[in-house]
Amino acid sequence: MVSGCLAKVVFSDAKHNFLIHYLAAVLLLLAAPIVFGFSGLDERMAAMPMEMISPVIGMILMTPVFMPEQNESIYDVVKSKKTSHTLVCFLRIILSAAITALLVSALALYMRSSDSQVTARLFVSTLGSALALGALGTFFAAVGDNAVIGYMVSVSYLVMDLFMRTKLKKFDLFTFTDGGTKVNPWLFAAAAVLVLAALIWRKYRK
C-alpha cells in the first residue's frame, strides 16, 4: 500500500516536474551524432564520445531532483505530509540514475552496432563518470537549495576536467580517454557519498 503510494508520487513527479529534463537528455543523445563520429572507433577513441556525453546526461537528470520544492511555499506543504520527503527524494534519485544508465546503455549499444569497440569496462567506467557528475550537481543543488547552483558547479567541474584531465587523478571523469584501462571505483564511491550527503543535508536543514 505504502509502496504503491510512493510509486504514484514518483510517477506523478516524473510526469509533471522532470519530463522536460528527460526530453533534454534524449535530445542531447539524438543530437550527439552531429558532433561526434560513432563508427569504427577503437576503445580509446570510443571513450571520447562516451565519456563526454554520459556525464552531461547524468548532470541533466540528477541535478534537479530537489527542484519541485525549491519554492518555499511548496516545501512547507510537502514537509507537513505524512510521506517522508527524504524517501521521495531518494526514489527520484534512483529513478534519475536508472534513466541515466538506460540512456548510456542506448548510446553504448548504438556505438557497438556502428562497429565501435565499446567494452564492458568502458561502459561501467562511463556510468561511474555520469553518476559522479550527476551526484555532484545533486549535492550542490541541495546545499544551495537551487538547481542552478547544482548545474553551475557540475558544468564548471566538467569544463575544469577538460583542461586539467589527469591532474584531477582519481576524480578525472575521462578515465579511458586519458589512457586508463580499468574501471575507476572512486567515481562510484564519490557518487554514493555525494547523494547520501545531499539527502542528509536536506533532511536536517533548518
Binding site: H16, N17, L19, I20, A24, I34, V35, F36, G37, S39, G40, L41, D42, E43, M45, A46, M48, P49, M52, P64, Q70, N71, E72, S73, D115, S116, Q117, F140, G144, N146, A147, V148, I149, Y151, M152, V153, V155, S156, V159, M160, F163, M164, K167
Partner: protein
C-alpha cells in the same frame, strides 16, 4: 543607494562565491602556471625552432590532392566538425559528386581515377572491430589548368559535402598541408615581433584574456539567472512590483550591479597577473597598463552580453532555460573555432581566441574585427537589457507572466 544595495545582494549570493572560486581555480591552474617562467630569446644553437604555417599554393595543392585521393579511395574522411573526431563515409550520390570534383582537379575521367586507385599502395589497418583498407597516394598532382582560386573553391565544395570540419576546409588548408620548419632567424623575428613591439605585457595580457574569456563565456549566466529569479523564489515579486521605481531603472540598476560585482574578481586576477609579470620579467621594460586595458576591453563586453542573455531569458522563461541557451552558445563558440588557437577572432564570435604569447602579427591582422566584435557585443548587451526591462514591465503590469513549459500555466502541461 539602490545600486550599492543590489551589489551587496549579488556579493552575498552563493552563486557569486562559486563564480569567484571557479575563476580563481581556472586562473591559477591555466594562465598562472603557464607563465611562471619567463620566455627567453631563441638561441642560435637549438636544433628545432618549431614550424610555421605559410600559404604556399604548390605545397597545399600537392598535400591536399594526395590526402583527398586516399580518403576518397577508402571512403573514410576524417573530420572535426565541432573539434571532436568524426569519420565520415559518403553515400553514392555524394561520393559521385566528390569524384567529379577530383576529376576536375586531376584532369582525368572515371577510368583514370580507377587506374590511380588500382596503382595505389594499400595498407590494411586494424581499427576497432574491423580492418579498413588505407590507400596511400604520394605522386598525385593537380592539373596545371586548375588555378589556385578554383582549387580552393573545389575544396570548399568538398568540405560542404563532408559536413564541415574536414581537412579541406578552405580556412584550414594552409594549417593542414603547408607547414614548414622555422629557421633561427625566423624564430628570432617571431620572438621580437611578439615581445618587443608592445613589450612582454602585451603578449601576457592576450594570453590572460584567452583563458579567462573561456570561463566568462558561460559562468556569469548562472549568477545572472539565479539573481534574476531570486524575487520569485523569495516570494518578493509582488512587493517589488508595487514600488515606485521604473522597470527600466530597476532592471538597469540590477544589471549594472551584476556586471560591476562580477568584474571585480576579474580585476583581482588582472592585478595578480600584473604583479606576476613584474616579478618574472623584473629588469625588463614593461608597459604595465596593457595588463589592465586589454583585458577590460576584451572581457567586459563578454560579461555584459552573457549577463544580459541570462537576465532576458530568465525573465521570459526561467533560470534553467537561460543556462541551457548560454551553455549551447558557449559550447558552439568554443568548439567551432579554427585549428589555430591564435588570431582566431571573427566579427561575431563570442570568444576571441589567442592562446599563445607569440604570433602578435596574427592578432594584429584581425585587430579591426576584434574591435568591431567587442563594440558589437557591448551594444547588443544594452539592447538585450532594454528587452529584459520591457518584459519585466509587461510582467509587472500583469500583461505577461513569462512562458512556462510545465507547472501552473505551463504550455506543455496536460489539461485535466
Amino acid at each position: 543607494m539602490l545600486f550599492l544595495k543590489e551589489c551587496k545582494k549579488v556579493a552575498r549570493s552563493l552563486t557569486f562565491w562559486i563564480y569567484c572560486i571557479i575563476l580563481a581555480l581556472m586562473f591559477f591552474t591555466n594562465y598562472y602556471s603557464d607563465v611562471r617562467y619567463g620566455e627567453s630569446r631563441p638561441s642560435a644553437y637549438e636544433q628545432d625552432y618549431g614550424t610555421k604555417v605559410v600559404e604556399d599554393p604548390d605545397l597545399i595543392m600537392d598535400g591536399a590532392i594526395n590526402s583527398l585521393m586516399g580518403e576518397f579511395a577508402s571512403n573514410r574522411y576524417i573530420c572535426y566538425p565541432f573539434g571532436f573526431y568524426k569519420a565520415v563515409s559518403l553515400k553514392d550520390n555524394d561520393r559521385n559528386e566528390v569524384e567529379k570534383l577530383i576529376q576536375e582537379l586531376t584532369g582525368t575521367d572515371h577510368e583514370g581515377i580507377s587506374e590511380f586507385m588500382d596503382e595505389a599502395q594499400v595498407n590494411y589497418v586494424e581499427h576497432a572491430l574491423s580492418t579498413y583498407p588505407e590507400y596511400v597516394f604520394n605522386t598525385m598532382i593537380v592539373d596545371k589548368n586548375v588555378s589556385y582560386e578554383r582549387f580552393k573553391e573545389i575544396m570548399g565544395e568538398i568540405d560542404d559535402i563532408l559536413g564541415g570540419g574536414s581537412l579541406y576546409a578552405v580556412d584550414s588548408l594552409a594549417f593542414n598541408f603547408s607547414r614548414v620548419p622555422m629557421t633561427y632567424e625566423e624564430a628570432l623575428k617571431e620572438y621580437e615581433d611578439s615581445i618587443t613591439a608592445d613589450t612582454m605585457t602585451g603578449a601576457l595580457s592576450r594570453l590572460f584574456c584567452d583563458y579567462t574569456g573561456i570561463d566568462l563565456a558561460l559562468i556569469p549566466v548562472f549568477v545572472a539567472a539565479a539573481f534574476t529569479a531570486a524575487d520569485r523564489r523569495r516570494r518578493m515579486t509582488e512587493l517589488v512590483y508595487s514600488r515606485k521605481i521604473s522597470s527600466l531603472r530597476l532592471t538597469f540598476t540590477r544589471y549594472a550591479a551584476l556586471v560591476t560585482t562580477m568584474f571585480i574578481p576579474v580585476l583581482i586576477t588582472m592585478i595578480i597577473a600584473a604583479v606576476q609579470a613584474s616579478v618574472v620579467y623584473s629588469g625588463e621594460e614593461l608597459k604595465m597598463h596593457l595588463m589592465f586595458t586589454t583585458p577590460t576591453f576584451w572581457l567586459l563586453p563578454e560579461i555584459m552580453v552573457v549577463t544580459a542573455v541570462g537576465m532576458l531569458v530568465t525573465e521570459i522563461f526561467s533560470a534553467g532555460v537561460a543556462v541551457a541557451v548560454q551553455g549551447v552558445w558557449a559550447f558552439i563558440s568554443l568548439m567551432s573555432g579554427s585549428n589555430e588557437l591564435y588570431g582566431d577572432i571573427t566579427k561575431f564570435g563570442l570568444m576571441c581566441r589567442h592562446n599563445t604569447l607569440y604570433h602578435r602579427s596574427a592578432f594584429m591582422e584581425t585587430y579591426n574585427d576584434f574591435v568591431f566584435n567587442r563594440i558589437f557585443y557591448m551594444i547588443l548587451a544594452l539592447v538585450l537589457v532594454c528587452a529584459a526591462a520591457f518584459i519585466y514591465n509587461l510582467k509587472r503590469g500583469g500583461r505577461f507572466n513569462g512562458i512556462r513549459l510545465f507547472g501552473k500555466g505551463g504550455i506543455l502541461r496536460r489539461k485535466a
